[in-house]
């Protein structure tokens, strides 16, 4: 005898019913939790930028953000301006706006600019908006924080790099969506991120060279800060290559801004 649940009509009705129940449950949850989630993500961006600037609660070995309740206050206090530099497809600066000018035009905070969307726009030959956060680090030195975005082995990777006006790295923060735990996921560990501090993005002759995550560079302690290399993570070659690539591609675009800055100072 055929069971009731084996009938085709029952199967179809069950499938439709299940999809409706599960779909509406998830849709309801997603939309009701969305405000909280995007608020968390907004605070995280502030924490990331502050982290790269050196405003964090790091202990000896692990990376700790400034707490979420202190982040907005610290962000206002430490980030003096959020510049938006618009470049055309050739990387020439078209427009430079302060935070207030940009906010007036778009009603959006520059730190919420989606780097991925800007990359896509530049790829189609359009303009690209480059946010740059200017602030003072713990020692009172002026640093410039730029967001970067790229791809690792499995999914997106991104980060924030703080530089001084000579494009020497003052601090870096990296994060990822789905790199392998224990291997590629370690790009957000202190031992990897800290290696970037003090590293030069420009070559000795002043050309933009980036920083390569290099295997076996005979400098595991990273004493040589002008070799444009940091030590890679064992077993995470592709994620490391992704980090090198996003630094090269995204930070290069900021070079004209720093060139201008130096020319003005002269």
């Amino acid at each position: 005898m055929e069971k009731r649940t084996d009938k085709n009509t029952y199967t179809v009705i069950f499938a439709i019913g299940m999809v409706l129940v599960v779909g509406s449950l998830l849709a309801y949850l997603a939309s009701s939790l969305k405000p909280r989630i995007s608020e968390n993500q907004r605070l995280e961006k502030q924490q990331n930028i502050l982290y790269a600037m050196g405003i964090n609660d790091n202990d000896e070995t692990s990376a700790v953000f400034i707490s979420t309740d202190k982040a907005p206050e610290a962000f206002d206090a430490n980030v003096q301006d959020q510049l938006v530099i618009t470049v055309d497809a050739n990387g020439t600066i078209v427009k430079k706006q302060s935070r207030d000018e940009y906010f007036e035009e778009t009603n959006q905070e520059p730190y919420l600019i989606d780097v991925k969307k800007q990359q896509a726009s530049a790829k189609d030959g359009g303009e690209r908006k480059l946010p740059l956060f200017v602030g003072a680090n713990k020692e009172g030195k002026t640093v410039y924080v730029a967001p970067i975005y790229g791809k690792g082995l499995w999914d997106a990777i991104w980060g924030y790099v703080a530089m001084d006006e000579n494009m020497v790295v003052q601090g870096a923060y990296f994060d990822h969506k789905g790199e392998t735990p224990g291997l590629g996921a370690n790009i957000k560990q202190r031992y990897f991120m800290d290696d970037f501090t003090g590293e030069h993005l420009l070559s000795n002759s002043g050309e933009f060279k980036g920083i390569t995550v290099a295997k076996g560079n005979a400098d595991p302690k990273n004493n040589n800060k002008t070799d444009n290399e940091v030590d890679a993570i064992a077993g995470a070659t592709i994620t490391g290559d992704g980090v090198s690539a996003m630094i090269k591609k995204d930070l290069k675009l900021y070079k004209p801004y720093f060139d201008n800055l130096k020319n003005q100072a002269k």
């Binding site: 029952y10 069950f14 291997l183």
Partner: protein, 214 residues
């Protein structure tokens, strides 16, 4: 035991050794390879699987009489995926820091064949309480192997446990490294997880001949 009958206790203890999901049923090998380079990741994954298997088995068991057999695999997949997404969303809203640590595991849990395997083999034919125990038992059996593999891979591969250096400093050449010991970077790569699991299977079958198949 007052709480559990003998038969129920077996549901928990069997998967820990003689019916271990990884070494005997050979389920869940993929995630055992992927995330055991560090002990911490192994533990986090074990806890996540424990939760999803316990709840998932109960849900499937409650639905066992209404799920059409023709589309049962898809129905199971939807249950796991829904559970995992709900957990992910709730964590993102209320425990954002934790959700960032766990988000990597979400995809791995949905595709973990232990979960589907136990739904199919046990929860579809048994009541909710027994299914719950079966889920917990198998998740613990999975956890034991994951933690053993994670322990050896992190210790021999990086010289650390839970991120804390235990063998000295490989760069400063202190501790064990002063005698010429080197970390085995090969331990960090997935093939070594397979070899460690292989060794566990070997040891287990040597001790219990009943497990050896002809």
């Amino acid at each position: 035991m007052g709480l559990l009958s003998k038969k129920d206790t077996k549901l928990i203890t069997d998967p820990l050794a003689d019916n271990n999901p990884i070494t005997i049923q050979v389920l869940g090998i993929c995630s055992a390879l992927a995330i055991t380079a560090e002990l911490e990741a192994s533990i986090v994954m074990s806890i996540s699987v424990l939760f999803v298997m316990g709840v998932g088995n109960v849900v499937i068991s409650l639905m066992r009489n209404i799920i059409p057999s023709k589309i049962r695999i898809i129905a199971q997949l939807i249950v796991v995926a829904t559970l995992v997404i709900i957990v992910d969303l709730v964590l993102k809203a209320f425990a954002y820091e934790l959700s960032k640590t766990l988000s990597v595991f979400v995809g791995l849990i949905i595709t973990n064949c232990i979960i589907m395997g136990r739904f199919e083999a046990f929860a579809l034919g048994n009541g909710p309480w027994r299914s719950f125990l079966d889920g917990i038992g198998n998740a613990l059996g999975y956890a034991v192997i994951l933690i053993i593999v994670g322990f050896f891979r992190e210790l021999l591969g990086s010289g650390t446990l839970l991120g804390i250096p235990v063998l000295g400093d490989p760069i400063e050449k202190t501790g064990l490294y002063a005698f010429g010991y080197e970390n085995n970077g090969f331990m960090l790569l997935s093939p070594m997880a397979l070899i460690v699991v292989g060794i566990i299977i070997w040891v287990q079958r040597t001790r219990n001949k009943a497990l050896v198949e002809d």
